[in-house]
């Protein structure tokens, strides 16, 4: 579904991502791990068009997308959450999601200004969609709270809900479990599985919580210094000595 071909990104003299090849298969949950500063977030930024690639191609459903505007890429069905949460801080939970639902309505400017029939019908649907999403994501209770006053964990959840409102085919999650305790992480893990099944979307995760990554990812790419270290199923990645040395550390080795 998504293919990175020889993707490279440099910042001035610094090469953040170097010749990375990777394929995300449809309906899979894939993982991206690697030490801090390995270039993981940068890869997400490249996929979503926030950064322009220095070299290589990114192909989504057969179409090269590396030079498209971010909103175009989102329009094609790729959306994401951010490592540093970027909600519409001053809006309520409800409005955050409702705003993101915009793509599911087609009425134009004239129709909205004059409140024509299509506006009313579609707007009703949007609002229903929003309610449904809040329900699924367990946010109904927080409906009227402004986003910035939510606790950290809920903000992350809201970010996912907002991304889902776009009805993505590919969902990129950048450290969704950061700041959650193990119990919450476990819940999140189930939630992600549920999302995959329910929304029929492919998921690509960056995460440092190994429980989560190893627990739900079918295929994992390990990045180190911008280069791909290895790629494979969790069991294999977990035991790889290079990965242990560069990323997991001795503690994990003992445990394994």
């Amino acid at each position: 579904m998504l293919e990175l071909k020889n993707v490279t990104k440099t910042f001035g003299g610094l090469t953040a991502v170097e010749k990375v090849d990777f394929i995300v298969r449809k309906d899979s949950i894939s993982g991206l791990i690697g030490p801090n500063g390995a270039g993981k977030t940068t890869i997400f930024n490249l996929i979503t068009g926030i950064y322009k690639v220095t070299g290589g191609e990114i192909i989504f459903k057969g179409i090269p997308i590396q030079n498209l505007e971010p909103h175009r890429i989102a329009g094609m069905g790729i959306t994401r959450t951010f490592q540093n949460i970027r909600l519409f801080k001053k809006l309520s939970v409800y409005d955050n999601i409702l705003t993101a639902c915009h793509r599911n309505a087609g009425y134009n400017l004239m129709e909205s200004v004059l409140r024509l029939g299509r506006y009313k019908k579609e707007e009703r649907n949007l609002r229903q969609d929003t309610e449904d999403l809040m329900e699924i994501m367990g946010l109904s209770k927080w409906r009227d709270h402004t986003a910035h006053s939510l606790p950290y964990g809920l903000q992350r959840r809201l970010e996912i809900a907002r991304a889902l409102a776009v009805k993505p085919e590919l969902l990129l999650l950048d450290e969704p479990a950061a700041g959650m305790n193990p119990d919450e992480t476990l819940q999140l893990m189930n939630l992600i599985r549920e999302i995959r099944d329910r929304f029929k979307c492919t998921i690509f995760i960056i995460e440092h919580h190994m429980d989560l990554v190893m627990g739900i990812c079918e295929n994992i790419m390990v990045l180190n210094f911008g280069r791909k270290l290895i790629e494979g199923p969790p069991e294999m990645v977990q035991r790889d000595p290079q990965v242990i040395e560069a990323y997991l550390g001795e503690g994990a080795k003992l445990g394994a």
């Binding site: 705003t99 909205s112 409140r115």
Partner: protein, 292 residues
Amino acid sequence: MDWFYIKGILILSGINLMAVLGLSLLTGFTGLFSFGHAGFMAIGAYTAATMGIKLGLPLIPSLLIGGLISGVISLFIGKLTLNLKGDYFCIATLGFGEAIRLILDNVQYFGGARGWPGIPLKIDLWNVAIINVVGILILINLINSRHGRNMIAVREEELAAKTIGIDTFKHKMISLFISAVYAGIAGGMVGYYTGFLQPKMFSMNKSTELTIIVIFGGIGSISGSVLGTLLLTALPEILRAFALWRLVAYGAAVIFIMISRPEGLMGGKEITLKGFIRLLNIRKRSGKAAEG
């Protein structure tokens, strides 16, 4: 207070309000700060007056054409400048506003800096009120549609807006266009109200005055803009008697509101019928509670 005088203030408020509403969309809802809106007013004013005098069009079509031309020009400006951030955009719009004024100063066809008298007087309280009501309704509808929400998203967090598929540039453009149309219509009304146009009327002071009103009323609130306009247009009139001290008091009032209610008068909230009823209910309930 004499009705004739009050009427004058109301008409002036109405004219200001139209421009403020447009700017409210741009600044309040889309988060773009313009110092050049007087320029759009000027374009609308001179176009509308031309339509009326040279082509003999009636008021409303003249105003609409004035607004439209102003909007079309805003598209060119927007194309060039909307990618700029914060103060850079400000400066670009400031430059635009001053440039428009300078052009008008030099165009002798419209009387240059000496002004253009003899524009027919067609504005009265009624047509100002109707134009404003329509303007407000359109704006409310817009804000409560996906387009309006997208603009707010651009204001709140542009990057996130992009990643949920909002064409931020396009929405900034729409917002600028509409606000320029509103400003253009307001400008047209200035001409038809005073019967006289002069580039001086559309100086940077006018632009900053509009911005002050928008922020004063509260960002992201239409009722705030309405309230702000009424108050800030009436305030100098109320203070008129203070002569020399009038603008000192005005400046102090602006600072006072900003520091005591930093989110402006309304601050993102709207006066709605529902809210009003809720307020009444709370009163009733607390009244009952007090009884009980």
